[in-house]
């Protein structure tokens, strides 16, 4: 089993609902976030394209943050979710530097924090808070090894890309184009 997320950039309107839903679900302190919106504009008026995408930790199969963690606080759990054990984190920030996606931040309580794919919800059979709230249903989540999971079905018959493939991290966020 490997959890993954597909983000449909054609549907995403960049409303940031995923950001605030994550904030209230996971008690992320004000001024910080575990997911965020990126807007890319290309072309010149009036031939212009806009890509909007909701980003977060890529839960990489080959995760540099886990490799560089000196205490083992960053680790991988079932389904490939990259987690941080707050009590074991010394806040050194090596993982923040190693992440090609800038997906981690220093929590004001002194540890490093990031997206958990709402593991506490998955354990109860619920979906992640961001997927559940998205008004455009542009987020698809599930076990990418299951051909009938929502994420696998979303990837079928669509073109997609991953971010920073050159980093070789085998990221698990797929952006439908």
């Amino acid at each position: 089993m490997r959890y993954a997320m597909a983000i449909d950039t054609r549907k995403c309107v960049g409303c940031s609902d995923c950001v605030v839903a994550c904030q209230t679900e996971n008690n992320v302190p004000h001024g910080y976030c575990r997911d965020w919106i990126v807007e890319n504009v290309s072309g010149a008026y009036p031939i212009v394209e806009v890509e909007l995408r909701s980003e977060r930790c890529n839960h990489c199969e080959n995760s540099p943050c886990v490799r560089c963690c000196p205490t083992g606080a960053s680790h991988i759990v079932e389904g490939g979710i990259v987690m941080v054990t707050h009590d074991e984190c010394i806040g050194c920030g090596a993982c923040i530097q190693s992440c090609p996606y800038d997906a981690r931040y220093s929590h004001p309580d002194g540890y490093v924090d990031k997206c958990t794919f709402c593991q506490h919800r998955l354990q109860k059979g619920q979906n992640t808070a961001c997927v559940e709230v998205c008004p455009t249903k542009c987020l698809h989540f599930g076990d990418i090894e299951d051909p009938y999971s929502d994420v696998s079905l979303a990837l079928k018959n669509r073109t997609w890309k991953v971010l920073a493939p050159e980093a070789g991290t085998k990221p698990q966020l797929y952006f439908l184009t």
Binding site: C15, D17, V19, N27, V28, P29, V50, D113, T136
Partner: protein
């Protein structure tokens, strides 16, 4: 961008963030089972999505989640609804009643008890009624608190109640569609986007306006590759997702609509059976648009004739499953009712009204009226003051009510005092001088709000309302495909000394000798009485939040060839409006040219961001985190001309010499035309009590001083304002 990237302005907020995080003492999510959920419907915008407020064991509201049964949101709240919890936690909230007094020649607010504040408001109401008659006491309102104060004023003897929803927002579309189909659009719009094959948007920026159910349906049709045609001088979010984006020259939309009508008729693309059966005036319309060819429109709109013909054909191919969307905030150029008429006529030619994928027949459930004595007949109402002007205004015109508050304006009947509930007039009403002069002229102003919005600065008495998460309110019974009712109940006790509007109004009513109109102890009693009459109960609604009812009015759509009587003079869809003709207005829309910017000035276009509503959410910490200021969008060519850099702070000055109080950040982007600039509405707060949003961004409303009034319904056209850049010493005015 990356994690923590919303932490804009972190340098100043680090400390606050740290304290808050510590106070919360844990970042471990609380499981849903450990919380209690209470039904509510959202009050952050007018879409009123139903949801559940989750409260933990310490009586903290942790999150708000959409109600899956609710057709407004389908279980998915928008960012503002999800962030609605920030309205409850905002430490800048109004906390106690306040009374204005003069200390050493300086006007200050002092804290007061409810008893004292209510006594004062009631005594002023008695005083005004005695001196000028109760009709001279007016109400300005928005949203749920309005209904409670309307009841109070009706019982007291005034029907002078106005909301910006009419003359500053959607009035023209109700006039244009009513003249054509005999029916308002209303809210939520009965646009059957879910099933449409072609959606046409005239400046409507769905996705940036977060009208939830509508955004959801647009996302669905994007998913199945339906045609979207977006007309906008700015590449809006939805324009970027459309099959056709028509980057029109601003202020020329009506010419495009008329030429589309021309093409549908003269290229024989209109829905002949539908037009023959349901409409009147086709031959007159045909003659009217004879010369309005795409070549004619090209010179006006800058949209090339081939694109005009191709998009008209797209609509016709999809018909009747096509929607030319009426939009919502449509007070642009003063001929807005006529532009909306053209939109309605297009829909009629395509046969989309009453058809699947077009406009469905909406239905709402009737809420039983809780018994009370008959209201007294008011001595006069806002309509008597119009003297024949704006004959199609079926709701009060706020700007006319403001003008009637200024004795020098010479209105027959004068307004002498106001209650303002839930609307921040200074950041809503264009031409700030009108508002200011009116506020200074009236004898008394009471303001009911949850936040120290700018309007509270004009109040004699401020009455702090609790948020929607802390109160019972009227039932929501908005029209939809399925009639439904939704309950709002308190999830927690009101914070500070705040009170629900129903309580405030009742207290005032009792002080005014109107106790007969308040024959209940708690508003919950009223709700239970109403719900039981509807076949449910407060007890059941507390468990389910929303209940749906069977339709009584028939199917959602017209069957092929079905006979149907439209509520117009002729009983038909009026392509030629007899109503307009009778009143001396153009029975069919006529294009007129609107003023252009002078050299060095750019048309000010404004709109919405998905994470904010009006000016009311910019201080909400959750939503502030998502967007904490607006920016002025500038085309790169213009930026080069002015040597503007991305992120640079500038002041804006309009055609009347009004300069923005605060500087605003420049966003250099290819998404905007070279003859226009764009700003998100609702920023540039100048009340320091809004500690987060004070001084952030610029207020578009402040720069809107040229108002083009719609002679039919009094709408305040606001898109005829032009701004230029002041690049030297940005911040000077802000410090003053």
């Amino acid at each position: 961008m990356g994690a923590g990237a919303t932490a804009i302005g972190l340098s100043t907020l680090n400390i606050a963030g740290l304290n808050l995080a510590k106070a919360a003492s844990s970042d471990i999510p609380v499981s849903d089972e450990e919380m209690t959920s209470f039904p509510t419907y959202c009050e952050v915008c007018f879409w009123k999505c139903a949801g559940w407020a989750y409260v933990d064991k310490n009586k903290n509201i942790r999150k708000i989640i959409g109600n899956t049964e609710d057709p407004h949101c389908n279980g998915r709240l928008c960012p503002r609804g999800t962030g609605g919890v920030g309205m409850y936690t905002d430490e800048d909230r109004l906390k106690t009643p306040l009374i204005r007094e003069t200390v050493n020649g300086e006007q200050v607010f002092r804290k007061a008890s409810w008893e004292e504040a209510l006594d004062l408001v009631a005594s002023k109401m008695k005083d005004v009624a005695y001196k000028y008659g109760p009709a001279s006491f007016a109400l300005f309102n928005h949203g749920a608190p309005g209904s409670h104060f309307k009841h109070l004023l009706h019982a007291y003897g005034s029907e002078n109640e106005g909301e910006p929803a009419w003359a500053q927002c959607r009035g023209p579309r109700e006039v244009g569609f009513s003249a054509t189909f005999g029916s308002w659009i209303g809210s939520p719009e009965p646009t059957d986007i879910r099933d449409t094959n072609c959606l046409v948007l005239i400046g409507s920026h769905i996705g940036e306006n977060m009208h939830n159910g509508q955004v959801q349906e647009v996302a669905d049709i994007i998913g199945r590759n339906a045609t979207i045609i977006t007309v906008d001088p700015r590449l809006s979010t939805v324009a970027a997702k459309s099959k056709y984006w028509l980057p029109i020259k601003p202020a020329t939309d009506l010419a495009l609509l008329l030429t589309w009508i021309h093409v549908l008729i003269y290229d024989n693309l209109y829905n002949k059976d539908y037009v023959e059966q349901y409409t009147m005036g086709f031959d007159l319309l045909k003659e009217h648009v004879k010369d309005m060819t795409p070549e004619w429109a090209y010179g006006i709109t800058t949209i090339d004739p081939a694109t005009i013909r191709k998009t008209a054909r797209e609509m016709a191919n999809a018909a009747p499953s096509v929607i030319v969307h009426p939009g919502r905030h449509v007070v642009w150029y003063g001929d807005d009712s006529q532009r909306e008429r053209a939109i309605a006529i297009l829909n009629a030619l395509l046969g989309s009204w009453g058809k699947r994928g077009g406009f469905y027949f909406k239905e709402s459930v009737a809420i039983p009226k809780y018994p009370h004595p008959a209201y007294p007949h008011p001595e006069w109402s806002w309509k008597d003051n119009l003297d024949g002007k704006y004959p199609l205004s079926s709701m009060a015109i706020t700007t006319e009510m403001l003008a009637a508050s200024i004795p020098e304006m010479g209105y027959k009947h004068q307004i002498k005092a106001w209650i303002v509930a839930g609307t921040n007039l200074p950041l809503t009403i264009p031409n700030k001088d009108l508002f200011k002069n009116a506020a200074e002229a009236v004898e008394f102003i009471a303001v009911v709000d949850t936040m120290p919005m700018e309007i509270t600065g004009y109040a004699d008495v401020v009455l702090p309302e609790c948020t929607y998460l802390e109160r019972y309110d009227t039932l929501r019974a908005a029209p939809h495909r399925e009639p439904n009712v939704a309950l709002r109940m308190p999830a927690v006790e009101p914070k500070y000394e705040t009170k629900p509007s129903w309580w405030i109004a009742k207290q005032l009513g009792e002080r005014l000798g109107l106790a007969d109109y308040y024959n209940y102890d708690d508003y919950a009693d009223v709700l239970d009485w109403q719900l039981k009459k509807m076949g449910t109960s407060l007890e059941e609604m507390r468990r389910i939040g929303i209940k749906k009812f069977d339709r009584q009015s028939g199917p959602l759509y017209l069957a092929d060839g079905e006979e149907y009587h439209f509520n117009t003079n002729s009983g038909k869809i009026e392509l030629y409006s007899t109503e307009f003709a009778d009143l001396g207005f153009d029975p069919m829309p006529v294009f007129t040219k609107h003023p252009e910017p002078e050299d060095g000035f750019y048309r000010l276009i404004y709109g919405r961001a998905p994470m904010h509503t009006f000016s009311r959410t910019s201080n909400n910490h959750n939503l502030f985190d998502l967007m904490n200021e607006n920016a002025v969008w500038v085309n790169p060519k213009v930026a080069e001309l002015w040597d503007l850099k991305n992120g640079q702070m500038v002041h804006l000055k309009n055609q009347d010499g009004i300069t923005s109080t605060f500087p605003v950040k420049v966003r250099v982007t290819e998404r905007i035309r070279w003859d226009s600039v764009y700003m998100v509405h609702g920023f540039g707060h100048d009340n320091k009590k809004l500690t987060r949003s004070f001084g952030r961004g610029a207020s578009d409303t402040q720069l809107i001083t040229n108002v083009m009034v719609d002679p039919m319904m009094g709408g305040t056209g606001m898109r005829g304002n032009f701004v230029t850049f002041i690049t030297d010493k940005p911040g000077k005015e802000a410090e003053a």
